[in-house]
């Protein structure tokens, strides 16, 4: 009992120490002095919270058909004539609340883009570490592939991988694998950025004495790569990942918009915009414009935060 309390005290104590140290750090200092960084962080946290607990944030259920009423179909946004405060951003063709649809769509969009970036980082960092550490033929092969891929814009690579995976999976199973396919497609379109960054840094770090020492102590190569080298090349990866997250969000929305991404049964923001686009010319603009604005604000916040991180974590600018 006593020891448990002491253990807890020490954990809390350490946590406090860590918090106090990070609060005094240069980075936190920069962050506190940048209203733009604080605002974008707040927006991102709000989006993440809404995506994590959609049933708490969404004013109305979306997937339960019994709660939908066709009398509510095409209700305009609340502040316009004929609007209804139950539907802040209006309702769609089946009387579904647009705001709630956005929140559930956000969940899919964020999940796909975060998963894609995570996969992309894993592939890119591993290949970059291996290429930079071993050099030689392995390095040449990996970097030639990277150069080759850079010939094509990420958008095309993602569409192409998506198309090829679909063709190999077959139309029948496509719906089941749609989310997985789009994650892989986006991840494969972005790994080069990390591989190039990490390779260059690894080549420098690998010559340092502590790496030599670790090798002489008989540490295994994977251990050296991930425990000794990786922490020393991680900061730029973090910056690139933030900026790539914005790219991944746009890619997912774009693929879904052109009909190659998430099917309408589990709509992402891009799917919502695709569906809403069909009503744009007939005047029900809120179906497409509000999901689009939600997307734009998210990408903008991530880009602003990425800009801030790049400047704040770059020692050369100090």
């Amino acid at each position: 009992m006593m020891s448990a309390i002491i253990a807890r005290e020490s954990v809390i104590g350490r946590l406090n120490g860590w918090l106090a140290r990070s609060w005094r750090s240069d980075f936190a200092h920069d962050f506190r002095r940048s209203p733009i960084a604080i605002a974008s962080m707040a927006i991102i946290l709000l989006y993440v919270a809404a995506a994590s607990f959609p049933s708490f944030f969404a004013p109305r259920p979306v997937f339960d058909l019994a709660t939908l009423d066709f009398a509510d179909a095409f209700k305009p946004p609340a502040w316009l004539a004929g609007g209804d405060w139950r539907f802040l951003f209006g309702a769609d063709d089946q009387g579904r609340d647009v705001l709630s649809a956005i929140i559930y769509g956000l969940r899919v969009s964020l999940f796909v883009s975060v998963a894609a970036v995570a996969l992309s980082v894993t592939i890119g960092v591993t290949l970059g570490l291996v290429a930079g550490f071993f050099g030689g033929l392995l390095d040449s092969v990996i970097m030639r592939i990277a150069d080759l891929q850079l010939t094509f814009p990420a958008m095309l690579v993602a569409v192409l991988v998506d198309g090829l995976l679909r063709a190999s999976v077959g139309q029948r199973f496509h719906e089941e694998f749609a989310v997985l396919i789009i994650i892989v497609a986006i991840a494969l379109s972005g790994w080069v950025q990390y591989a190039r960054t990490v390779r260059g840094l690894t080549m420098v770090v690998a010559t340092h004495n502590y790496v030599l020492a670790a090798r002489m102590l008989g540490r295994s190569v994977p251990f050296i790569l991930f425990r000794h080298i990786l922490p020393n090349v991680a900061t730029p990866v973090f910056v690139v990942a933030t900026i790539q997250l914005a790219v991944a969000i746009i890619l997912e929305a774009t693929l879904s918009f052109v009909g190659l991404g998430i099917p309408p049964t589990q709509p992402s923001l891009g799917t919502l915009i695709r569906v809403g686009n069909g009503y744009l010319l007939s005047g029900e603009w809120w179906l497409a414009i509000f999901p689009g604005l939600a997307l734009l604000v998210l990408v903008l916040a991530v880009n602003l935060l990425g800009d801030f991180l790049r400047d704040a974590l770059n020692p050369r600018l100090k």
């Binding site: 095309l156 063709a167 774009t254 009909g259 744009l280 005047g283």
Partner: protein, 328 residues
């Protein structure tokens, strides 16, 4: 310079061969062309017969050489979806995309460079901060959403511009152009602006960043000390030194515009390569995809070579170092 050029040509050739190999493997392993031609109800005997006729039973490497040979004369087979020769389909669609990409890029450059110079010279002014903020908005704007906003404003609300298509086109030999008719010009405006917004933002930020850097250099201070006019210092001394990175980016972006045209062309139903590519992906039309891949690789490689040559034209230091120390 010869050595440098030879090295670049070698790289270009490597890219082209690698992409062709990729295209070949794609057409070979995804979807069976024999089944595609004969239909799913054909017998095994018929399939084997056709396979022999088409030389598909030979060793892989011979088939690849054959594939390369046919590719060199522009023979990519038939489109599964359209039943037409792939090369003809590509040629028909190419002018629309090229015009769109070029008009978009010209707009982006015409607005982006002056705005970038202004933002670099008047760094602290309110106007330049607003422009810089707007440029980040431009980078964050998904291009399909930009297109939709334009359609909503100019087609739905104001009714000034057509929301889809290319308008009337004129034949110039095999090239069709929409730039010579009033309806064609009206039709290209919104898609071109959609493409230009992202490029504008990139160009503006690049020109500004490079200008700010260059303006700190000693030779600028020296030029000012010599009493040269502001105009001469800014344009002849500062701007010229930002051109090399600018041309690199413009070259790369011209390629990526063709990639992004996939989206813009979908929004505006623009009858170009991007729309074709997308329809082919959706229909798993492998011959078109393979040809498209090779086509894009050729475009990129050509642009990269031109960019490399431009370095020599712009930066006399490269020519000098050639004479002093051999190829750069």
């Amino acid at each position: 310079m010869i050595g440098f050029l030879a090295q670049r040509l070698g790289q270009a050739l490597f890219v082209l061969i690698a992409v062709s190999a990729l295209a070949f493997l794609m057409s070979h392993f995804i979807g069976d062309p024999v089944v595609a031609i004969l239909g799913a109800n054909s017998t095994g005997l018929q399939r084997d017969e056709l396979r022999r006729q088409m030389g598909l039973d030979g060793p892989l490497i011979l088939q690849f050489i054959d594939f390369m040979g046919r590719m060199l004369v522009g023979e990519f087979g038939l489109s599964y979806r359209l039943g037409l020769p792939v090369s003809r389909v590509l040629l028909e669609r190419m002018p629309a995309t090229m015009e769109l990409a070029l008009v978009g890029m010209v707009i982006a450059l015409a607005v982006g460079i002056p705005a970038g110079i202004y933002c670099a010279l008047e760094r602290r002014s309110a106007a330049s901060r607003i422009v810089l903020g707007l440029s980040l908005l431009g980078i964050s704007m998904p291009s399909f959403f930009m297109g939709m906003l334009l359609i909503f404003l100019f087609s739905v609300v104001l009714g000034w511009l057509p929301s889809f298509g290319r308008g009337e086109t004129v034949f110039l030999g095999w090239w069709t152009t929409g730039l010579l008719t009033a309806s064609g010009l009206k039709a290209i405006l919104m898609p071109a602006i959609t493409i230009a917004v992202f490029q504008f933002a990139m160009i503006l930020r690049l020109v500004r960043a490079e200008m700010v850097e260059v303006l700190r250099a000693d030779f600028i201070r020296f030029a000012r000390a010599r009493g040269l006019s502001r105009r001469s210092v800014h344009l002849r001394h500062a701007l010229v030194n930002t051109l090399v990175p600018l041309i690199t980016i413009v070259g790369l972006q011209l390629g990526s515009i063709i990639g992004f045209a996939v989206v813009t062309e979908t929004v505006f139903q623009w009858p170009g390569l991007g729309l074709l590519f997308l329809q082919s992906v959706a229909a798993a039309d492998i011959p078109v995809l393979a040809a498209f891949l090779v086509f894009i690789a050729i475009v990129f490689v050509t642009i990269n070579l031109i960019v490399d040559l431009c370095y020599y034209a712009i930066d006399p230091r490269l020519r000098l170092s050639d004479r002093a120390a051999g190829p750069a």
